[in-house]
């Protein structure tokens, strides 16, 4: 592991005791049950691994707030993606997040190329309660947006922007609505998300394209089984749309294990398949699959 990758984790570890001492004075109540605050998904939004959930991030209740920092390391066949971010949940109603993506191409003819983007998320819970509403079919429902700003393509010679690959825009905004429900009597968590997006490969290859410039409505879901009060397993599916001739984008899925030993740390480990990435451009037509490891520090 390179030092520059370790640094945010070290900073978070050093900050942790200070923050946990501070949290009592500034009223973070850590009042939710373990696992019910969700995790930081790949885009930094409170959710699972690939899919945003309707829960508000952090362990703060409706009278309080909570926050967390995450570091996610994804290693696929020919691509490594690091996601580092920070999120705040307030009054179990609002969520704000800021996340940085750094993608390194580790294989194919594009080896050495680096791509980055910043993602700013906001989410509002509009109805229901995922945990308390055990006597109703109404899930917890939230709406949200992910504002994505491309950081450019590096080490690829004259290629510096996704628009040169056929994308219509460097930057874009995803809108989503999520419904999350814990079927406690069955120890199941089910989440369904609909996302309105023009993004190519989460936005790392820009927005819209030569094949299809419009936005599409994508379906995403998480099904999790609660094994213990601190441990869950499950799977996710996320449809992604193919707008670029240079790319052959398909759906992504994962199988995960999530562990929350306490309210300060949680870990998600998954097998992740993001589908084909830039197959037509690189002539490497394998699915890009590999490991997903995310550590989250909460306070």
């Amino acid at each position: 592991m390179k030092l520059r990758m370790l640094r945010p984790t070290l900073i978070a570890l050093l900050l942790l005791p200070t923050l946990s001492m501070a949290q009592e004075r500034i009223g973070a109540d850590q009042g939710k049950l373990l696992l019910t605050a969700g995790f930081s998904d790949v885009e930094g939004t409170g959710g699972g691994g690939l899919v945003p959930w309707a829960v508000i991030t952090g362990y703060g209740t409706n009278q309080s707030w909570g926050a967390n920092a995450h570091y996610t390391d994804i290693r696929l066949r020919d691509f490594d993606l690091r996601s580092i971010g920070f999120a705040v949940g307030a009054f179990d109603r609002f969520e704000l997040s800021a996340t940085r993506h750094d993608l390194d191409v580790t294989g194919t003819a594009l080896k050495g190329v680096a791509v980055s983007q910043d993602i700013f998320g906001l989410k509002v819970r509009v109805a229901g309660d995922a945990v308390y509403g055990q006597n109703t079919w109404l899930p917890q429902i939230a709406v949200g947006a992910e504002i994505k700003r491309h950081g450019g393509i590096e080490h690829a010679g004259a290629l510096t922007s996704p628009t040169q690959l056929g994308a219509r825009d460097d930057d874009g905004v995803d809108f989503y609505v999520s419904g999350t429900k814990v079927f406690l009597a069955n120890s199941l968590l089910v989440n369904v998300t609909l996302r309105h997006s023009k993004a190519n490969q989460l936005g790392l290859l820009g927005f819209g394209g030569d094949q299809d410039s419009g936005a599409s409505l994508n379906f995403e879901t998480t099904v999790g089984y609660l094994l213990t009060r601190k441990l869950a397993i499950g799977g996710e599916f996320r449809s992604k749309s193919d707008h670029l001739g240079a790319d052959d984008e398909g759906a992504a899925w994962d199988a995960f294990v999530a562990y929350a030993p306490n309210r300060y740390v949680s870990i998600v480990a998954a097998y992740l398949n993001l589908g084909n990435i830039l197959g037509p451009a690189t002539t490497v037509n394998h699915d890009q699959s590999g490991s997903y490891v995310s550590v989250q520090f909460g306070f």
Partner: protein, 173 residues
């Protein structure tokens, strides 16, 4: 406006079905013993009574909520809690206490405290070896009480208990 969703390809649908199938399998697996009452799955009177005792001990050590039980008759509390859980779980009991709304009227309970008590119950069940999926079935029956137990804007600090009014001397004829 919306393009047809090119994300839904035959291959992707099969993956989706796998995910849905996993969920359905787990749902069936956890409800296979549905014919047995929850009360029996917990381990009947012995385990449930022991769990209530342990939960009360944990709760009295739990600084998030122990002060709200300062004026509680603990023997009565344990008896009523057992009755309530037993009845909810399909056991041979009848809850004889006040409604949840009435019982929490002056406690100003907030969500963090409601969740803290649920957590203490989980830990007590764990200590008595009740399987987690069975614990969840019990908590699933308690969770809908949240609107009656939790007071909107509840401070978490109970209202001071008023001294019992001294009976007025009987009027002489």
């Amino acid at each position: 406006m919306f393009q047809s969703n090119s994300g839904f390809k035959a291959m992707n649908i099969s993956k989706l079905l796998t995910t849905a199938g996993l969920g359905a399998f787990l749902a069936v697996a956890t409800t296979a013993r549905a014919e047995e009452t929850l009360f029996a799955q917990i381990g009947g009177e012995t385990t449930l009574k022991a769990t209530v005792d342990t939960m009360t001990d944990i709760m009295l050590d739990d600084e998030r909520i122990n002060f709200t039980f300062a004026n509680t008759d603990l023997a009565k509390f344990k008896k009523l809690l057992y009755e309530q859980l037993c009845e909810l779980a399909g056991g041979p009991c009848k809850y004889t206490g006040r409604t949840m709304l009435e019982a929490h009227k002056k406690l100003n309970t907030n969500n963090a405290q409601f969740n803290a008590l649920a957590e203490d119950l989980y830990i007590a069940f764990e200590k008595h070896g009740v399987p987690y999926h069975v614990q969840n079935r019990m908590v699933a029956l308690l969770a809908p009480m949240q609107p009656d137990v939790v007071k909107k804007g509840g401070t978490g600090i109970p209202e001071p208990v008023q001294a019992a009014p001294t009976p007025a001397p009987a009027a002489k004829p």
